[in-house]
Symmetry: C2
Subunit: 481 residues, 2 copies
């Protein structure tokens, strides 16, 4: 219910004598508003991949101090987003991945783990990029991951597994050191729609910036054409550096492959330190003292070099998408490595990428000063396994009496002089896992009346579509309606 609508209801009940006059007044205001409907409209959706509640508090404690406020904290609209996922047999799952959560936001449907832009049965669903493009809006995607990574892919492609990123791997192979069966039925040579990269090359998106150059080098089956060349043939100016877009003609479509794989991250632990296990002084005695990893700091990542920042990419996109554009646009901006660094149990890496998201938000807010009909939403796709735990342990003698995390921990020195202990205790594997908590949604004033305090993730799709006057794909879930 909109703010003005709620207010009207309240006023009607309490102040009936004044109500007739107010109604007449509001009616005239609504009329005034609709006369402005020719102004261009834009939606900017910023996604912090894996930016769950613990991760957000961790970043705030580090970046602003525990009594400080991030830029997202100043948003006038705030909501709790419940995540939904389901197993292949239709039973609910309680922890999602980036593929099904991206599909929920892009297309409004609940689907399976790894599914990109398809329903549980494999049927493609229409993404907001496809719908907006068809309606004459410009569209853009920015990510610090490969442009073929799960989150951007859900807005651009339709495939049963997010790892089927290029024409080689779609046939199967080794992914993350393990055998991967691929998605052979969906390969071009088998009459399918092709890998994510091939689908991107044919997609209607106007501007796509991120990493993943490597996925555009393989050739398309039955041709000698690299995916990259197919993209050029389909109207994309394909570039490798952000600066190459400086002189782009407004309306010219572009694909910026700005890194071989993911873009490098901004921050790292000093000396490349991540979370580490405690040292047991006597493994045979569970109450024997343990030695905690020493405190650590964050430092700039020397590998970052001239990597474009998320802010720079956002500024470029906003300029190109809005120039000489009377209709408006949809732009998704992803800070992808919050998730990837958390999987690596690297708190400094994740915090730096939250900072990048904040800077991109600052750029988006600056844009709204000259383009007020712009809906900004900031959210996360899912939560992550990091926890802020007591430093020292709340129990007894703590490390001196053997009380310790069974996982890995980082004891991070914060700029305000605190010591923040971070626990990565979800699993004993090389990379840690997602968790199932609700995530936050922040909105600018344009979100008032569209965003309610509690929403299901698929309803974010509905909100964005309505703002652009596009008919939302009916939200759906096999199990949950």
């Amino acid at each position: 219910m909109s703010c003005s609508h709620r207010l009207r209801l309240e006023l009607e009940m309490k102040y009936r004598p004044f109500f007739m006059l107010l109604t007449a007044l509001l009616a005239s205001l609504v009329q005034a508003e609709s006369s402005n409907s020719e102004e261009p409209r834009a939606v900017i959706l910023l996604i912090g991949d894996g930016l769950g509640p613990q991760q957000l508090t961790m970043a705030r404690n580090y970046l602003t101090g525990s009594a400080g406020q991030l830029l997202v904290d100043t948003a006038p609209v705030y909501a709790s987003i419940q995540i939904e996922t389901e197993a292949a047999d239709g039973t609910p799952l309680y922890v999602p991945d980036s593929a099904n959560t991206g599909t929920a936001m892009a297309s409004g449907v609940v689907t399976n783990i790894n599914h990109v832009g398809v329903r549980p049965d494999g049927t493609p669903v229409t993404s907001i990029i496809e719908a907006a493009s068809r309606a004459g809006y410009r569209t853009g995607i920015i990510t610090t991951a490969a442009v073929t990574d799960a989150t951007p892919a859900t807005f651009l492609a339709h495939i049963s597994h997010d790892d089927c990123e290029n024409p080689a791997v779609i046939l199967g192979g080794t992914v993350y050191g393990r055998h991967f069966p691929g998605c052979p039925e969906e390969a071009t040579e088998n009459g399918g729609p092709g890998s994510t990269a091939e689908q991107i090359a044919k997609s209607p998106v106007d501007l796509l910036l991120g990493g993943g150059r490597v996925h555009f080098l393989p050739t398309i089956a039955g041709s000698n054409q690299r995916v990259r060349d197919a993209a050029s043939e389909n109207g994309f100016l394909v570039v490798d550096r952000l600066g190459q877009l400086d002189a782009l003609t407004p309306g010219q479509r572009a694909l910026g492959l700005l890194a071989k794989e993911n873009l490098k991250v901004r921050m790292r632990g000093s000396g490349s330190r991540k979370a580490e296990p405690v040292t047991l002084t006597d493994p045979s005695n569970p109450n024997a003292p343990v030695i905690l990893p020493p405190p650590m700091s964050c430092e700039p990542n020397p590998e970052f070099g001239d990597t474009p920042t998320l802010r720079q990419m956002t500024a470029t996109a906003l300029r190109l998408l809005s120039a000489e554009n009377p209709k408006g646009f949809f732009l998704m901006v992803e800070s992808a490595s919050i998730d990837k660094q958390s999987h690596q149990r690297n708190p400094c890496g994740a915090i730096g990428e939250v900072q990048q998201l904040e800077e991109a938000l600052a750029e988006a807010l600056k844009f709204t000063e000259s383009h007020p009909r712009t809906l900004i939403l900031v959210t996360a796709d899912h939560s992550h396994g990091v926890q802020i735990v007591p430093e020292p342990s709340a129990y007894g003698g703590g490390a001196a009496e053997g009380v310790h995390s069974p996982g890995k921990i980082a004891r991070l020195k914060t700029p305000e002089g605190g010591l923040m202990r971070l626990n990565y205790g979800v699993n004993n594997y090389a990379v840690t896992e997602h968790t199932g908590a609700n995530v936050a949604l922040f909105g600018n004033a344009e979100a008032k009346g569209l965003v309610t305090p509690y929403m299901r993730q698929r309803e974010i799709h509905t909100v964005m579509m309505r703002y652009l006057s596009l008919a939302p794909q009916p939200t759906s879930s096999n199990t949950h309606e």
Copy 2:
């Protein structure tokens, strides 16, 4: 900023021609509103102890299904609450306990771990119960813990350690199986204010319901009087059963000690099961398969018996506090064992106590139908160590290849047919620990204009005091201003 205020600002910018007329109209409405100021006002603060984001999502998944909504999710006002705590040396801490977070809400100040109603230096601060009582409001506290437990204590007492609950333990002794030095300087015999129970016996609160009978049995130093008798002497009708309050005269003060210690909880794991470790098939090989604990269900706790529910206690309190009361009241309602059951790694126990909080909220909302000038806030004091993790693990062969939590897990069958895996991986100790994530604040429509989307926990105090037209204690923190 209130809904009407925000609306006014927006309208002013967009529709200046209409603004003068609207201003005149709103001014007349404000005048109409202030003429109602003699109506009684009430604040009901519901606290889910330890009800952090993961815990809330866990309860929702179980109680309503993952596409469902809890009653709190229907609240029209929603905010993110940042928690602040500090160490004795003034440096920030990132994980609080119930004593300092309770003090923040009761009195608006940031203080140290274990501190109850005192600043870091031990100076007492005025709680909303004390201020409201002085101004002529009735006041009440309901908890499923001992009434001397940290959270209720912060509204009623001023002492440097929340474990100094009675005249015996204040001198030190064994608490939770460990030596506890007590708070001897604060003991009555040393000229101090006495233990929490002694301070409660002298407190101005009108109605106090919970457990903790055992803390009122010791005698007060220098007298033969039990604390319980001191409470009677100070005007409390002291009862052991809720039904004994049925015929209470309105305005009669009462202390209901409804259990020896904490009230029993409603739910438990089937066969008393809690989270359990995985079984290693070959401890010498980290990649050897592991055997996961089998799935479990929740069941009614047979020990619950005729324990009064939080809803029953809330109904009693609302009846007694509002009867023949033209001024209004302040009531704090705590579902305490969400935290206590989570410390025990008992998800079913915690979920049942979230259900109790929901029922108390339903009772509070029912009350507002006949008492519209009632501010309802629902929040948590801090987050907790439980996590919802993938079932099965997202990685490789999972248990078959040895991927497992290094902590304890519960695999909980949900009524909607899912299997929710809960991870307790914070420490290896008998009880697990709190975590540092922001918590949620939910408000009814009366909270509009008072609650902003991001607040520091101490600002909850300010909101409640303002609603009751009481001068808030200036919010303060040694380190964070």
